[in-house]
């Protein structure tokens, strides 16, 4: 206290460390007294001494982690401190607020003077306690990864997915620092920790967490879109790298001596090596190796038809993961399907299965306009040698809150390479179109002009998100974004189209999931 207010009448100044109005620690001087108060759950425990502005010039509230005690201390010079009161820290100190206040109350003092505080400091402990022990949640899985990319061997990322509807907080049973992602060597004789997701990290239900290699020529997809105005940068960065065709595992501990199957949350790796270490770093027999060739490829979990957007997790890597590339190429003898990497981080849109996709016009079937429109105009330069198919739906915001970011991820599509009789479809960017003679009363009521049938409606176009560049068109895991000029209000709906170029005609399937952010 460089200067206290007058001690006459109803004036005081105080330092408060507060969780809320029922839980705080307080040092207060006024009316010639100094008060040290511990308020826990609304129960007051305080000590009062006679105030001396010189003896009590410096104030300190100190928490001792080892004893979990809170000490109220004063000092005349800021060096020698005297404990005036102690209490047990009985409420959470992880998110408290600090208040420095001064004021006069009532009419008892017409000239209270001024208070001056200086040298306020918040000093963190240099020796933090280990995180508390817990039973770790088990729903985090490796959802997408690559050990090499178009930028070279360091162009890596590992995406994790909280495969549950509830947020999880990273914690450990052995009080280690977090969950380790470890990688094995190519020959399968050793393994080591690549990074640790720290204890306390919170991953939302159905949300993602992204770790990227920050080495030179490392992760190259940082400009892929994530949340509104943000991109898919790493939530965690690491250096070094993962060997081609090796394996990784996520453990619910960072203590390497506890890297066992019992502590393994997930693993994915390749065939080619045998033994205890390779087996720990894969599930099932593993993925087919892809050589050591740079490419715009990725391994991503398959999202089975009818799963509501929930990825496959059968503990068999070869059936759980798809190998995709932007050219549908063959890498190291392993064929990929046309698709794209789509890394997601904590800020990326989350799957919203509560946003239904309805026909734009439910008075006609799904195979005719305006719900499905076939254009026979050949456009080879845009992957549409046999014309296009526009699939149009009305998406309804049933999330209960406004949506600011909306996109659609392709989880199933007949695309390159395909057998005869099957359509080869390539997702393209499209623009808005206006259609008339819509006879669906609900569509007209929400989006039509006039608001009753028959009406005209606008169907918004969607943009194939880049990077990566997708010169062959979008396929599996590609995302198509719709621009929202304003948030889509709760209960509101929007007509959208997905434009698909046809490089071969035949039977087709098209599956998407809705990803959105409030």
């Amino acid at each position: 206290m460089a200067e206290t207010v007058s001690q006459a009448g109803w004036v005081e100044n105080f330092l408060q460390v507060a969780l809320d109005s029922q839980n705080y620690y307080l040092i207060s001087a006024g009316a010639t007294s100094i008060l040290f108060r511990s308020m826990v759950g609304g129960v007051n425990d305080q000590s009062v001494l006679t105030y001396d502005p010189n003896l009590y010039r410096h104030w300190r509230v100190r928490h001792d982690q080892s004893s979990n005690a809170v000490s109220f201390e004063t000092s005349a010079d800021g060096d020698a401190w005297t404990t005036r009161k102690t209490a047990t820290a009985a409420f959470s100190l992880t998110a408290v607020k600090f208040y420095l206040m001064a004021g006069a109350w009532g009419t008892g003092n017409g000239n209270p003077g001024a208070a001056k505080y200086d040298n306020f400091q918040f000093i963190a402990s240099s020796t933090p306690l280990p995180p508390p022990s817990c039973t770790p949640p088990t729903s985090l899985i490796i959802s997408e990864f690559r050990f090499r990319g178009s930028g070279g061997p360091a162009d890596e990322f590992i995406e994790f997915y909280n495969n549950s509807d509830s947020a999880i907080t990273v914690c450990t049973a052995d009080q280690s620092s977090g969950w380790a992602l470890a990688a094995r060597s190519a020959d399968g004789t050793s393994a080591s920790t690549l990074f640790v997701i720290p204890a306390g990290t919170i991953i939302p239900g159905r949300g993602h967490f992204l770790a990227v290699n920050d080495s030179p020529d490392g992760y190259s997809l940082k400009d892929y879109a994530a949340g509104a105005g943000s991109n898919a940068t790493g939530d965690l960065i690491y250096t070094g790298g993962i060997e081609d065709n090796s394996g990784i595992a996520l453990f619910k501990t960072s203590n390497s001596s506890n890297f066992t199957t019992a502590n393994r949350l997930d693993a994915v790796g390749f065939t080619g090596s045998s033994g205890a270490i390779p087996d720990l770093y894969r599930e099932g027999s593993g993925l087919n190796p892809i050589g050591s060739i740079n490419g715009e490829y990725t391994f991503v979990r398959n999202i089975p038809n009818g799963s509501g957007g929930v990825p496959s997790d059968t503990n068999n890597n070869s059936s759980d993961f798809l190998f995709l590339s932007t050219n549908g190429g063959v890498f190291g003898g392993t064929a990929s399907k046309l698709g794209a990497p789509g890394p997601e981080n904590l800020f990326s849109p989350i799957v919203r299965s509560v946003m239904p996709l309805l026909f734009v016009d439910d008075t006609v079937t799904g195979s005719v306009p305006p719900n499905r429109v076939r254009d026979l105009t050949s456009d080879p330069a845009n992957n549409s040698t046999y014309g296009t198919l526009s699939i149009r739906r009305r998406v309804v915001n049933n999330t209960g809150t406004s949506v600011t970011r909306l996109r659609f991820r392709i989880t199933g599509i007949t695309t390159f390479p395909v057998p005869s009789g099957t359509a080869d479809m390539r997702a393209r960017t499209s623009t808005a179109v206006t259609i008339s003679n819509v006879n669906d009363a609900n569509t007209c009521a929400t989006l039509g002009t006039p608001s009753y049938p028959p009406c005209s409606v606008t169907v918004q176009g969607t943009t194939l998100e880049r990077p990566p560049g997708q010169p062959s068109g979008g396929g599996y895991n590609s995302t198509l974004m719709v621009t929202l000029p304003q948030p889509l209000a709760a209960g509101a709906s929007l007509n959208v189209q997905w434009l698909l170029g046809l490089q071969q005609t035949g039977s087709f399937q098209f599956f998407i999931i809705v990803e959105a952010l409030p």
Binding site: E243, I293, N327, S378, A381, S420, D424, I512
Partner: protein, 153 residues
């Protein structure tokens, strides 16, 4: 952000060759699409999906008929269809409440032709069929009383 220390594990293996473009277009499938495609497909055996192909006129592109059946709790709507022989796209609007639909196509007098699993929760879907003249019955595997008679002339 958390920066982790170096991890001297990698042994680079960059001796591989680039095979990514060695892709075969499925010629058999392409052959019966159009005459234009048939001629071109025999020339280009290693098509990359990014390669632009020769433009095809709209009249040359086979615009397959769409035949859509609606399935309700009572069965198919319509329950009888007459159509010309040849290829068409079959779509199903499933409003039956049954989650998994498997269609069974049988030729009257000849028996089973094929089963078609309607993909659950597809945003869109169609199955290409090529039927010769005759009479066919389309049923649902677990609801044999649901029947659509398809007469192909």
């Amino acid at each position: 952000m958390y920066t982790l220390g170096p991890r001297p594990l990698r042994v680079w293996n960059e001796g591989g060759r680039l095979f990514s473009l060695a892709l075969l277009v499925n010629l058999i499938g392409a052959m019966f699409v159009t005459p234009n495609w048939r001629a071109e497909a025999f020339i280009d055996l290693t098509r990359n999906p990014a390669d632009a192909t020769t433009s095809v006129s709209a009249s040359a592109i086979e615009a397959l008929d769409d035949m859509t059946l609606t399935i309700r709790e009572s069965g198919f709507e319509p329950s009888e269809v007459t159509r010309p022989a040849g290829k068409f796209l079959l779509s199903v609007d499933n409003k039956s409440g049954v989650a998994q639909i498997t269609l069974r196509l049988s030729r009257v007098g000849s028996g089973h032709v094929r089963d078609i699993v309607v993909p659950k929760d597809a945003t869109d879907w169609a199955e290409e069929l090529d039927l010769q003249p005759g009479m066919y019955d389309l049923t649902e595997l677990n609801h044999p009383n649901w029947n659509c008679r398809i007469t192909v002339n």
